[in-house]
Point group: C2
Chain length 317, copies 2
């Protein structure tokens, strides 16, 4: 369930593009108008607005936004204006370009595991069109050790989508997972093979069998060392497959509860999920924190950035 | 350069389908008519014929061919009639299903390395539609050791296609390859990363630099142990990237020169390359064996199977 709200009647892309042009004109920028238009258009509509803007102004809308806006507000408007594949390509590229630190590995995993296989494929095409390299080679080049062994196949595999479950296989592979984890062989080839190649439906059956047969959920068994970053990534990977709303709830919780909000994480989750499942994530958030997500966000942010976040969260103005 | 010859004027798909129906009727099958029609239609045309046949006869053309034909002739007509993605999916599935022996690993590598990234992606989709699993999970499940470490990323990566070459990177990675090979670390992670993720253009630059800087071609340096099956696969992988016609020439040479022709290899190469580069492969064959490919084939085969091979090789009747 998305939180994005598109009015029943919207202006033509040409009219929207013209209004955006006006928002940039003269002394100062009309941020309110930018929020009002862009936060209430879906990705197909935003694409048409970009095309109309480019042909009317001879400049990509993103270039104009980049010139006119700044800081957190700029980033949220830019990320939101991009289509899902281009946005994910940009996020993945940022994550491979920086010296690899933990959040970047999580972003790559998040893109690989919470998007559909076809969405991930479109992101690969957008990545190649923009950066003239493949996402696979960049992830492989910028990672090492267990992180590489997990992340490269996660971003590479074109997973099967379907309801078919092979119960015998689920039992065999649950047993393999249990043995490897009991031996603390967390980077084991077989464990990684199962997590990185099986369909989500098949994996779910395997992990349910694990839970039933061995008495603990696999994520609990992977919690032997709370400071181990690789184990954290492994647990998050499994959460993204089985219960992505819970994974995103936690990202938001940590972003908001921090001393000093983590705007990059907040912006990433809101822009990538507003058209997908942000309502479910907000429901999880309220269940876990006893406060509605929009209230928590509005307490922690301010100005145009806050207005854009709340608009994308679907809060009525 | 393809060897397939399509007449300037061809009947409608409906007429072709009707003729094929007649070839199956009565006492015995008219194999000559089947060869005459199917071997002179390209994959788009064959797809239309299959559709017309299904709507006229209420049965898939492949089912009828399966009922009417047998042995090597059946296999070549069936494989040829399939479109490229379906055919590759079938070949890959056969290769993962059998107990893994050397030819199967080579077939998987061949499909992963000699098709374009987009063709490989379409094969993945066809594989999933037909077998309800991903090619990645089947390859990962049915292989092990160094073979798995090489083959899984080969079939998984969506490689970048383009002319961009990063010369600095080519030098660094040539050095890495040389060090690993000098240490006989043929299954090393970095060596595999470079071969399985870089674009063919970039790899070509890296391998040229290797040759210039270290005095030998990489395939020569990988020839330390002629009986090592993994090294053979590694050399063939590189050949498929750099000079696929040479790779296929050798497959044909070995298939034909064997005591008892290897019909499966011969059929595979002819059906998969007739619409792509079989003319170039035939040129390589003649250069290397001093006899034209069609002559060699006609000496080594017989009957309808031979007729179909020669028709696909573009030899005038």
């Amino acid at each position: 369930m998305a939180t994005l709200k598109v009015p029943a009647q919207i202006p033509s892309p040409e009219d929207d593009a013209e209004q955006l042009g006006k928002a940039f004109q003269g002394w100062g920028t009309d941020e309110g108008l930018i929020v009002k238009i862009l936060s209430h258009r879906n990705s197909a509509q935003r694409e048409l607005i970009r095309a109309a803007y480019a042909s009317a102004h001879g400049e990509d809308l993103l270039t104009s936004l980049d010139k006119e806006l700044s800081s957190d507000f700029e980033r949220i408007v830019m990320l939101w204006t991009l289509g899902p594949a281009e946005r994910d390509a940009l996020l993945a590229h940022e994550a491979t370009k920086k010296k690899v630190t933990s959040p970047n590995n999580f972003i790559l995993m998040e893109i690989a595991c919470t998007r559909s296989p076809l969405e991930l494929f479109k992101t690969k095409q957008a990545y190649q069109a923009r950066y003239k390299r493949s996402i696979e080679e960049d992830v492989a080049y910028h990672t090492s050790g267990d992180f590489r062994r997990l992340l490269v196949p996660l971003v590479s595999t074109f997973r099967y989508v379907g309801d078919d479950v092979n119960t015998t296989l689920a039992k065999t592979e649950a047993k393999i997972l249990h043995e490897k984890i009991a031996d603390k062989a967390y980077g084991d080839e077989e464990l990684i093979r199962i997590l990185t190649t099986r369909s989500k439906t098949q994996l779910n059956a395997t992990l349910n069998h694990y839970n039933n047969e061995y008495g603990n959920s696999i994520t609990k068994d992977l919690k032997t060392d709370p400071d181990n970053e690789y184990l954290k990534l492994l647990r998050s990977t499994i959460k993204c497959f089985i219960f992505p709303e819970k994974y995103f709830e936690k990202v938001l919780r940590l972003a908001i509860n921090k001393m000093g909000t983590d705007e990059w994480a907040l912006t990433r989750v809101v822009t990538t999920r507003a058209e997908v499942d942000l309502q479910r994530i907000a429901d999880e958030y309220q269940r876990r924190n006893s406060v509605p997500l929009d209230i928590a966000v509005s307490k922690d942010t301010s100005g145009d950035y806050k207005d854009m976040l709340l608009a994308l969260l679907g809060r009525e103005e």
